[in-house]
Symmetry: C2
Subunit: 263 residues, 2 copies
């Protein structure tokens, strides 16, 4: 019997679609289900308790589809999810896999982390990087304007370059060779971030890292490969803006409807 159960992905909004897109590109035949909690975005400015409450509601919503695995594609939510399983199925966040890769690629052992206020205040990236290597030097910076800039579509824009420079250049006074994009919106601003950090710095993002992890779980038979390539996308609040972003981030060649989720 073929298992057609999907892999479930959620985020506070449409930023997690950068992760879903990486997964879908790498595993086009796999079935996916996505939930964007756009009614209550952003999570990044909220308290740990509120973020945890909303994240658990998202996982409960997704569990009705009996997924084979859960992916928390939101860094702010990932800081509040310590579980590695949900209802007996693997649960991956966008933090641990990214930390592992950053720790492997750095040569200077000076690592930068950028994210929302909630993610940076949690200091979780620093803690986990130091668990892998107690001598790691970690520099964290919150960049609260990056999400609204990405949502405004001011990508590779002189104003975005200036803002990226203001946030990132102070930490670059240190010999950082690896910069973690600790928010799933940030890959949309990669070009401005790379300009501010300098061309030689490795930017580590969640999408390709999570795609590696899922491939690994399939190889180890922890997840069954599926064949339908089905895709369902739910949003808890649909605006013309969120629909526009969903379609443009996923690509116009993909076939899916946007559905409403009442959380």
């Amino acid at each position: 019997m073929i298992n057609d159960k999907p892999i479930a992905v959620f985020d506070s909004g449409v930023g997690g679609l950068t992760v879903l897109k990486s997964l879908k590109d790498r595993l086009p035949k796999q079935n996916f289900i996505y939930l964007g909690d756009s009614a209550r975005l952003p999570y990044g400015s909220k308290t740990p308790q509120t973020i945890r409450k909303y994240a658990v509601q998202c996982l409960s919503f997704l569990s009705q589809f009996e997924p084979q695995a859960y992916i928390v594609a939101c860094n702010s939510a990932s800081t509040q999810i310590a579980e590695s399983e949900w209802l007996g199925k693997p649960l991956l966040t966008v933090i641990e896999p990214v930390v592992k890769v950053a720790s492997q690629v750095t040569k200077t052992h000076h690592i930068g982390v950028i994210g929302t206020r909630a993610t940076i205040n949690s200091k979780l990236f620093s803690k986990l990087l130091k668990v892998l290597n107690p001598d790691e030097h970690v520099f964290e910076q919150s960049c609260p304007l990056f999400v609204p800039l990405a949502e405004e579509g001011w990508v590779d824009d002189p104003i975005t370059n200036l803002i990226a420079y203001r946030y990132i250049s102070p930490m670059m006074q240190n010999p950082i060779d690896t910069l973690i994009l600790g928010c799933t919106h940030y890959p949309l601003l990669k070009s401005s971030i790379q300009k501010a950090s300098g061309a030689g710095v490795n930017l580590i993002e969640a999408g390709p890292t999570l795609a590696n992890e899922i491939e690994h779980l399939i190889l180890n038979q922890k997840i069954d490969p599926t064949q339908d390539g089905s895709l369902r996308i739910f949003l808890s609040d649909r605006t013309s803006q969120s629909d526009f972003w969903t379609k443009s981030l996923m690509g116009l060649d993909l076939d899916f409807e946007i559905e409403s989720a009442d959380l």
Copy 2:
């Protein structure tokens, strides 16, 4: 018997404190109660249905204090509240009073309106201005980066000036002499907005306008003057950021505690 019932004010977050501050400065002995729905901010990117649902929850929360009047100090919420009374008490939004003033002061009859996406998409300012004067020319522009810029504290900052210029200068090609700040956060960026609009343009903001309205209701004995000068401020999610903004917007000389509201 002296009526000590407060005037109730709510916003999606701390922006409405610019209105509360104007009211408190003008009427220091009046009792006020404020609710900031910071757990679910911003309202400005959400759908009308969701904004209405949250606004009604805020009004219900405030009704337990039996206020003499309600003020919706959030433009996005004001677009979804057609009522002029709530539980038999006067309800004021930040739209109608501001529209009335703008209509009185314009000489060129070209009026600009800036606000969040939800406020501008509602086209409510245009509609109401044209009810007062069908020949009014109205130019509306959403400025989604202004709220995060204000919350980042980048006030009178070169980057904020650039962004204000990008949003506002296209509409200023028209002979606009009056610009409505259609979001209660925007008075914090007044200096950048005035630079972008030009020094001769009247900026109309909600705080002083609402203070006039409340004085008028007291004079007409629709609201009783109170004597305690008590102030209670509730937030639905408290972060160090929201506490900081509450204290700095209200001024350190005022005596109040920040309390939590479970919405």
